[in-house]
Amino acid sequence: MVSEATNTRKKSVLWDWLTTVDHKKIAILYLIAGTLFFVKAGLMAVLFRIQLIAPEMEFISGQTFNELVTMHGTLMLFLAVTPLFFAFANYVLPLQIGARDVAFPFVNALGFWLFLSGGILLSISWFFGGAPDAGWTSYVPLASREFGGIGIDFYVLGLQISGFGTLISAINFIVTIINMRAPGMTMMRLPLFCWTMLITSMLIVFAFTPLAAGLLLLMLDRVFDAQFFIPGEGGNVVLWQHIFWIFGHPEVYILVMPAFGIISEVVPAFSKKRLFGYTSMVFAVLIIGFLSFMVWMHHMFTVGVGPIANSVFAIATMTIAVPTGIKVFNWLFTMWGGKLRFTTAMHFAASFVPTFVLGGVTGVMLAMAPVDHLYHDTYFVVAHFHYIIVGGIVLGLLAGLFYWYPKMFGHKLNETLGIIFFWVFYIGFHLTFFIQHILGLIGMPRRVYTFLEGQGMDTMNFISTIGAFMMSVAIIILVINIIYSALKAERVTEKDPWDARTLEWSTNTPIPEYNFAQTPQVRSLDPLFYEKIHGNGEMKPAEPLDDIHMPNGSILPFIMSIGMFIGGFGFISFHMDLFISPYVLIAIGGITFFGGMAARSLQNDYGYNIEKETVESMEKELS
């Protein structure tokens, strides 16, 4: 390759991935890490579904059950779904807006490594006296020093560190979208995935701050014997619930919004129609984002905050159905009369719509405060949010995976295996969770590790577990598909294998490190499709071909994250018998972290230039 001639010396592969600041490589790091956590959390779910396959099973103990349930929820929400969406966002977002990279490449790498070190810190809790066991919500007093085990310290510090990573990545996305759009790409020509990522990032900025504050208070309580959440000492336990759900409700939308975006990209591409009601879609996303902050109390109807507060928040919650309905109808109208192609991605996108609606309908049922007293803490709630999270978010993720796979890895996934995967997964999902609505209505409580015989729950729990097995089989089919396609599938060399509409499909495959040799000139919504109709099918350049300035890689993000990890472990080890003092660990971690920051501030790193001739020869080689 010619590029290495300009790029000093050739690096080893491992060193390259540890130091990379290229958004495409960081995206793949996110994808791998997110998938690992996803599989891990899924296996935990299978384990506790086996425990619930029959009445009075003794497959795992109640303590292990609590730990598995807690870790399943925490891993799925914080360490699987968010990074998987960040993977797609990192890869696709700069391409869709016609940029060479995200706004702050170094910060982008730091965000990933912080997320990973927080995730690992959370995961090693199994080896130090047990995982967190107070539910993913970690309600006090169950999570206080008096009642909760050492695992909760790992929960607090692990989430705090990975939360930093998420927060700085989100800020990075906001700046990228606002400042780095190609000429002609106005806000109202932004692809919907970019819009949803912008709103998601805003939600992260406004929601992860309360979470960080809450976790800090809990840490002070647990590690330094403060009493924010200890009623006997003048604290207030309901305060934790408020702070947690002020974060926790927007978190649901942080997860589901990018899925909305992916569906809004996939559906038009495979319907060969522009997205119906683009403007209303944008405003629906904005309104959902705003409302998601004003409804946190609906998680706490049974706490006893009084009828007026319950009514206000019940009505606010139901209001969210209006913009969501707008979105659903827009997707339907996009498909209506379109030239539909049922690829695997379209299978996922099309099935997303009715499944998500089902989840939404039970959401409105739960939003009715008086009836919520019946549903509260039953499997009905479990069924509801899994219809949103699996039937909405995971289907969206898989649609995105099949859709963007050729751009990311240079070959398509096998379509036949993909469609088999889809049906096994989809049927397994409904088997697992539809029946849980009924289980909940007849009164099966959630988070309870076994149930008694003869209460009419035996068959339904059995079916639910079989469904969970089917979903695992489906994931195995996906893995086979990925390996099979990597070995056998034909390389995709054309730029646009799906006949799609947005800018990411106007780049060469594989994408060179600078993305666009010349920044494209955007003339419409769906710019690539506009050029196919009104131009020659190629984006017009907005600037002359010139030297391209790229940032240098850096090992500092990795080192700083190790510093955070050690420091975080130090705070946890206050209540452990280690051979080393916690103060020493905190000092080492702090010096590593702040030393990394200082090194970054003091070094003069101007990046490097890819010369015009190199760009020209690379472009010729690829096209």
């Binding site: 606002i178 805003m202 900025v205 406004f206 207030n236 309901v238 305060l239 408020h242 002020i246 705003f290 902050f293 004003m294 109390m297 905050v305 507060a309």
Partner: protein, 114 residues
């Protein structure tokens, strides 16, 4: 280019228009600063002076604090200037989101300590 850098400049590189703008900005900063000191003194007076009831003092000081905040953000931190639309809108949406939360928390928890 580089070898000229250590020689003294004979006159400012700014033109008349830029100088005028800079002067105006400076004047605004000084006036705003004086005004802020003024309302700080008012706040101290409201607390210190006898005969002013507490029921008046508390909302009055809070109002002054709000004015201070706005002047701080818009005049000292330049949110009023051009191309600050995005930071402004983020600040405002942050306020719009946080204000009802704080009010709701105070009302719902029923713990009001001041």
């Amino acid at each position: 280019m580089a070898e000229n850098l250590n020689q003294p400049f004979e006159e400012s590189a700014m033109n008349k228009e830029e100088k005028r703008k800079l002067n105006r900005e400076q004047r605004i900063q000084v006036i705003a600063f004086a005004f802020m000191i003024g309302i700080t003194i008012l706040a101290f007076l409201a607390v210190g002076a006898e005969g002013i009831p507490t029921i008046f003092t508390t909302p009055f000081i809070l109002l002054l604090a709000l004015v201070q905040l706005i002047i701080q953000l818009y005049y000292f931190m330049h949110l009023k200037d051009k191309d600050h639309g995005w930071p402004s809108s983020f600040m405002i949406s942050g306020l719009v989101l946080a204000a009802p939360m704080i009010v709701a928390l105070i009302m719902l928890l029923g713990v009001v300590k001041y």
